[in-house]
């Protein structure tokens, strides 16, 4: 399984060398958005009485949840693309482990999402400061858990939608929903009451709760445990679904 995952992972990297879109969407777009929108997000937060939170501690999680969610698109895309190229059946009949194939497919986007979150915190700190209390290790752990959850969600989307157009539409709406229900862009107090109940099933919300605290140096063990447990549970559900549905061959 590990060897299969490794070979698929290397192959994915080879393919990515010919396609710059993940780098543009996951790195350049959120970096620009972070630089341009941080003052505005800070102003909105202060309007709602969140004066103690620095601008960077608001905008960095907002950008990570919004653009990190697009990591799911790259997983779905890599699977739908295999079907378009007629390589999926070949992969299933060649590889010794279907779980290995899925693992190999998940690793590159997962890595990109983690790198993205690290890059954004560096840019946020450099341009707007206010991250002096950053719990760096905890921040990377949170980024990793979110990367696993969101890429696993990409597998579910790949199973549900066979065309790239449908898949893209769903992923972009999903990213928007995750971001808007995370409380990062708009203070939770300002959201309609029913959205407040949806927050608790959004991976975005749990990422923002975790990362905001990690950025401000206020992350406690109970807060970290709850956020990471919920993200893990969601990842488990998505992976189990993908394992059952994408496993068209007996392995």
């Amino acid at each position: 399984m590990i060897m299969t995952a490794l070979h698929v992972f290397i192959n994915e990297l080879r393919i990515m060398r010919h396609d710059a879109s993940p780098f543009v969407i996951l790195f350049i777009m959120p970096s620009l958005a972070l630089i341009l929108l941080t003052p505005a997000l800070g102003a909105i937060a202060r309007e709602y009485g969140q004066a103690s939170v620095t601008d960077s501690a608001l905008s960095v999680p907002a950008m990570t949840v919004m653009f990190g969610s697009l990591g799911a698109a790259f997983v779905s895309f890599s699977i739908v693309r295999e079907r378009d190229w007629a390589c999926w059946s070949r992969l299933l009949t060649s590889a010794h482990s279907t779980v290995g194939i899925i693992g190999g497919k998940l690793l590159p986007p997962m890595g990109l999402v983690i790198i993205q979150q690290v890059l954004l915190v560096i840019i946020g700190a450099a341009v707007y400061g206010g991250l002096g209390e950053l719990q760096a290790g905890a921040y990377i752990v949170g980024a990793s858990f979110f990367a696993i959850t969101i890429t696993a969600f990409g597998l579910v989307v790949a199973d549900m939608f066979s065309s790239l157009q449908k898949m893209n539409a769903v992923i972009h709406i999903g990213a928007l929903l995750f971001a808007s229900t995370s409380g990062a862009f708009i203070p939770i107090e300002s959201l309609p009451f029913y959205v407040k109940y949806l927050l608790y099933i959004s991976p975005g919300y749990w990422l923002v709760v975790y990362q905001k605290n990690a950025l401000l140096g206020t992350l406690t063990l109970p807060t970290a445990s709850i956020s990471l447990s919920i993200l893990s549970l969601q990842a488990f559900v998505f992976l189990a679904y993908a394992r059952a549905r994408l496993n068209c061959i007996n392995t």
Binding site: H7, R14, I15, C87, S89, L92, T93, C248, N250, T251
Partner: protein
């Protein structure tokens, strides 16, 4: 090598395979001949393990295909080239073949040697570093096939492997398939090009409506179903009058006689000689032939528009007298 018993596969209300039973031996090229929608690709997919039958059993090299614990072992035995060429377009020919060699568990050194060997065998050496998206249809087909045999499978499934290939690429693919079979691999080959089956001298499996109708060598099938007969065409409507001269003859039209050649009793010379005074009124003598194509049409209850006949004797047009000859 492959033993399929009573396999049924349904897609909702549609029945793709109906209690299909099939046996394939080692060192044999078996060609599946069927109309579109007869279940060829479904059968290939089941053998490859890409889908599960609703009922029945599939045994490959003594291993039950449907038993999960055999899956890994069976992957080593089966090579599958689906109808559509499965290649990574932006990767080079070498990278494509090498990747699948590694997935099959070959070490770096083994994969390197095997890829070089295959590129040579499939005449792709000059294209080694070319991205697959820049290759022609025939070249892509060859890479596709090379990947299917990279792990030296004992059973090779080829679903229309020459689709879109030009005649040179087709010839190259057929030669490689013959070489692979000579090395002991059982090949299951589906195609709509009947001349390929004749070229491969393949064992023929005729499928229709999800069942195997006939399974035999080309010679056996033709011997069994070949109607050895002649057609004698006249310039005048005299078939009825002439019918009694030749044994086993039937009038099929006023100017046409069908002569069954029981135990090769008739030869052209015999027919010509027996005609006697009617000889000047013979327009032509044709042999009725059972080509693979006609055989297929006959066995699948379809109708061929082609005339299964070969003209053996053709006389010059005769000016007919207004009155029939007096001896008639």
């Amino acid at each position: 090598m492959l033993n399929i018993q009573q396999v049924t596969k349904r897609f909702g209300e549609i029945s793709a395979l109906n209690a299909l039973t099939l046996h394939i031996q080692e060192n044999q090229i078996s060609a599946i001949l069927a109309k579109n929608g007869a279940g060829k690709s479904t059968l290939m997919s089941l053998i490859a393990g890409l889908s599960q039958p609703c009922s029945g059993s599939i045994e490959i090299n003594g291993l039950n295909r449907l038993d999960k614990k055999n899956t890994l072992e069976l992957k080593k035995h089966i090579g599958f080239a689906a109808q559509n060429t499965g290649l990574y377009p932006m990767l080079s020919v070498h990278q494509n073949v090498y990747f699948f060699a590694k997935l099959h568990g070959l070490t770096h050194q083994q994969a390197k040697i095997r890829v070089e060997q295959l590129l040579k065998q499939f005449e792709l050496t000059e294209l080694t570093h070319r991205p697959c998206q820049t290759l022609s249809g025939g070249q892509k087909r060859r890479v596709h096939l090379a990947i299917a045999v990279v792990h030296r499978p004992k059973l090779l499934l080829l679903d229309e492997p020459t689709l879109g290939a030009d005649i040179y690429a087709r010839e190259a693919i057929l030669n490689v398939v013959k070489d692979i079979a000579k090395q002991g691999t059982a090949v299951i080959y589906t195609t709509h090009y009947l001349n390929e089956i004749e070229n491969l001298n393949a064992h023929i499996i005729i499928m229709d409506k999800g069942r195997v109708l006939h399974q035999a060598s080309q010679r056996e099938l033709q011997e069994k179903h070949n109607e050895n007969a002649f057609y004698v065409d006249f310039t005048l409507p005299i078939a009825e009058k002439v019918a009694h001269i030749l044994a086993h003859s039937t009038v099929v039209a006023a100017q046409r006689l069908h002569v069954k050649n029981h135990n090769n009793a008739h030869t052209i010379e015999h027919i010509v000689h027996a005609m006697g005074d009617f000889l000047p009124h013979i327009q032509q003598i044709k042999r009725h032939e059972s080509s693979l194509e006609n055989l297929f049409f006959t066995l699948t209850d379809s109708h061929s528009t082609a005339q299964p006949e070969t003209v053996l004797v053709k006389t010059k047009p005769v000016m007919h007298p207004k009155k029939e000859p007096s001896l008639l």
